[in-house]
């Protein structure tokens, strides 16, 4: 088990520690503390904005959010294509454009779009690097790999068809 030098059972470690703890420390000038307090005060978290302390439940919520977002993004083009079979192309294109405008105006209500994108990126990155996110990513990769294997079995048949 790792130990601090003071707790170490190793006599070499203790001897070095006894010697080196006598080396003088670099001491900050007396005014530095006041300067640090003044300079950082604007960056202190405000009492109103209670930041979420990371925990397991929060991680699951974030992962579920990313999953729902990914599902929505995957389904959106499918819905657009499906709509083309039912409605006139002009109506579908107009609908898509109106939805995009509405989405952008909804996202930018009171906040910067870039801020929203940055936050979304951070949340997505946190979810991807979480254990649950990594598991989902691995599952997705495995599914994609299986799909590719399936496709590779179909391709020779297709090539034969073209050659014929």
């Amino acid at each position: 088990m790792a130990r601090t030098p003071a707790d170490s059972h190793d006599p070499v470690e203790r001897a070095w520690h006894a010697l080196l703890r006598r080396a003088p420390r670099r001491e900050p000038p007396p005014y530095l503390q006041a300067r640090l307090l003044a300079a950082t005060r604007a960056s202190w978290p405000a009492p109103g904005e209670v930041a979420a302390v990371p925990d397991g439940r929060g991680e699951l919520v974030v992962t579920a959010g990313v999953l729902a977002g990914a599902a929505a993004l995957t389904l959106a083009p499918v819905l657009v294509v499906a709509a083309l079979f039912v409605f006139d192309a002009g109506i579908v294109v107009e609908g898509v454009a109106r939805t995009c405008v509405w989405l952008v105006s909804w996202l930018s209500t009171g906040v910067s779009v870039w801020d929203v994108l940055m936050r979304a990126g951070r949340v997505a990155a946190a979810a991807m690097t979480s254990p649950a996110g990594t598991l989902l990513l691995l599952g997705g990769t495995l599914t994609a790999w299986l799909a590719l294997v399936g496709l590779s079995r179909l391709l020779p048949v297709e090539r034969e068809t073209v050659d014929a």
């Binding site: 006598r22 670099r26 000038p29 300067r35 930041a51």
Partner: protein, 214 residues
Amino acid sequence: MSDSSRQGRASALDALADADVAVAALRGSADACELLVRRFERPVYNLIARLVQDPSLAEDLTQDTFLKMFRALAQYDPAQRFSSWIFRIAHNTAIDALRVRRVPLAVPPVDPDGEAADPVADLPDLSSESPEQAAGRRQLAEVLDEAIDALRPPYRAVIVLRHHEELDYEEIAAIMQLPLGTVKTYLHRARRELAERLRAAGYGPSETRPGGRP
């Protein structure tokens, strides 16, 4: 808000561990933020000043470190030691400044099997304390100070983190973002160089008495 209630809150915070103070700061406690600055001003400045060897730059970088720390406080994981987290920010800030100044940071490649044992026999014996040796000890402290300053920056960092801040190897590895074996090798090499410099300054092997020159 009365001064006495503020003092009461501040003293209650004083009893808390660093991670709990950080969580309180994250929830908007100005007292907790102030306490973090008071607790870590000296160790952060010590690490940075040892690395950059310029007091004025060290002050600026200490300020940068605290600014970065407060801005990134929401990303701090309370399961992790707060000191390791802030030292990592301080170390990265100092290393970035050294890179800008083109200070060489490279060290010879690490070969854990090729490193000899720690040169403990070269150390002055510090087991006894006697008043007549006080002057000699002050002199030894000066020699040590110069010897540490003459080390390469990564070696200085491991010496400060291990022997001033008393951190374990895993924490030092996390702060410097190095493998555990590399940290041990750096520490070993730093000590070997220090032993050589101490010997050159007249603080020889075990027959040398504490604080005295041969």
